[in-house]
Amino acid sequence: MSVTEDRARGVAEAIDRLECGRVGYVPSNTVAPIILRLEETDRARGGTRRVFPVSREEEAVGIIGALPLTGAFGAIVMQDNGFGNALTALTTFSLAYHLPLLVVANTRGGLGEYNSMIHAVSGGVPDLLAAVGIPTFRLDRRNSPDDWRETVYEAGRHARMTFRPVVVLMEFWDGVAGGRRA
């Protein structure tokens, strides 16, 4: 199993350990292994619809972000360029109503990104999230797969303890071993 696969497995394991009642995702090649692992877990549990696609990121914030009002907790898996779509929902709903939410997002604005256009939004995402007060933790090639897993898990706990959305930005670029992108 490659390091990239180990990271994806760790992220999925963390979401499972957090007992996320629902996981909404906006598709991406990079996060697909995380989604596939979560769906694999669901099939092993007898087939639930815990994991489902959502058409846009702000819609995911509305659906998954509402779960704490029912006593549950959820996670969104997406790409970081989607924060451009989701910013009003994250701020005026999740932040303003103090609703915990875990968002794990692969990055498209850093090393290894081939698409010159997408840097224009993704490169500014960390500053964007900081400007609106959304706690953000970052993972990249320097973190071990175990660290990826534990960081995502603790970020989910952090969201619950602080009653707000928390983001983990995941840069999957592997340096000399790289080569995959969405």
Binding site: E58, G62, I63, F73, Y97
Partner: protein, 209 residues
């Protein structure tokens, strides 16, 4: 039928159900008709109401709460028309989506919406959702009764007159307070509790702990 007349019918039928309302004039008029713990007012979050309602409907599955009532407007829904497709895909049985369609952005100068020429009910049907229609208070009351009699999701496409009710006060409440009172009410109802909120306020645990 004016929107506030529709809201009076809806509040009389939803005292025991969670209700989430779209922003601006709709939430303000709802609070003016009846300000209850089972109401969640979205003070901004433009276009997000139906998505929030879908999340709530998923969250109450397998609990004592059988329906979640969403009060969206034509303008708000058109800002996030994806919500109909997602509801049609996920089919949350508790969802009762009421589209209060006045053909205009009534909170923003009454500018026209697409619903003056597009039929939002037909769009919902195309997404695989069951749709009922009403354009007067008696029809709305009957449609709500029918919607609550069986599993959903159900969409009620309700035509109302343009304009807002006069002299409705602003909703100057901290969203944290709105969310907390709604959550306490809802989680208690999900557990089958129907007694006074004061009695269970200290018993309901914090989120996901």
């Amino acid at each position: 039928m004016r929107r506030i007349e529709a809201l009076r019918v809806i509040t009389s039928a939803t005292a025991d159900l969670p209700v989430v309302a779209t922003c601006a004039a709709t939430s303000r008029e709802l609070a003016a008709v009846a300000d209850r713990d089972n109401h969640l007012y979205l003070l901004d979050s433009m276009g997000l109401t139906s998505s929030v309602g879908t999340g709530l409907a998923l969250g109450v599955a397998d609990s004592a709460v059988e329906h979640v009532v969403v009060l969206d407007g034509d303008g708000s829904l058109l800002m996030n028309l994806n919500a109909l497709a997602t509801a049609g895909y996920l089919l949350p049985e508790a969802l009762v989506l009421v589209i209060l369609d006045n053909g205009s952005y009534a909170s923003t100068a009454g500018l026209p919406t697409y619903s003056q020429t597009l039929d939002l009910g037909r769009i919902a049907e195309a997404c695989g959702l069951r749709v009922a229609r009403a354009d007067d208070t008696a029809g709305l009351a009957a449609a709500l009764t029918a919607a609550f009699a069986e599993p959903g999701p159900t969409v009620l496409h309700v035509r109302t007159e343009p304009g807002n009710a006069p002299d409705i006060p602003l909703l100057l409440v901290d969203p944290v307070v709105l969310a907390d009172r709604f959550r306490r009410w809802l989680t208690a109802r999900m557990a089958g509790r129907t007694d006074s909120p004061e009695r269970w306020a200290d018993e309901v645990g914090e989120v996901g702990q």
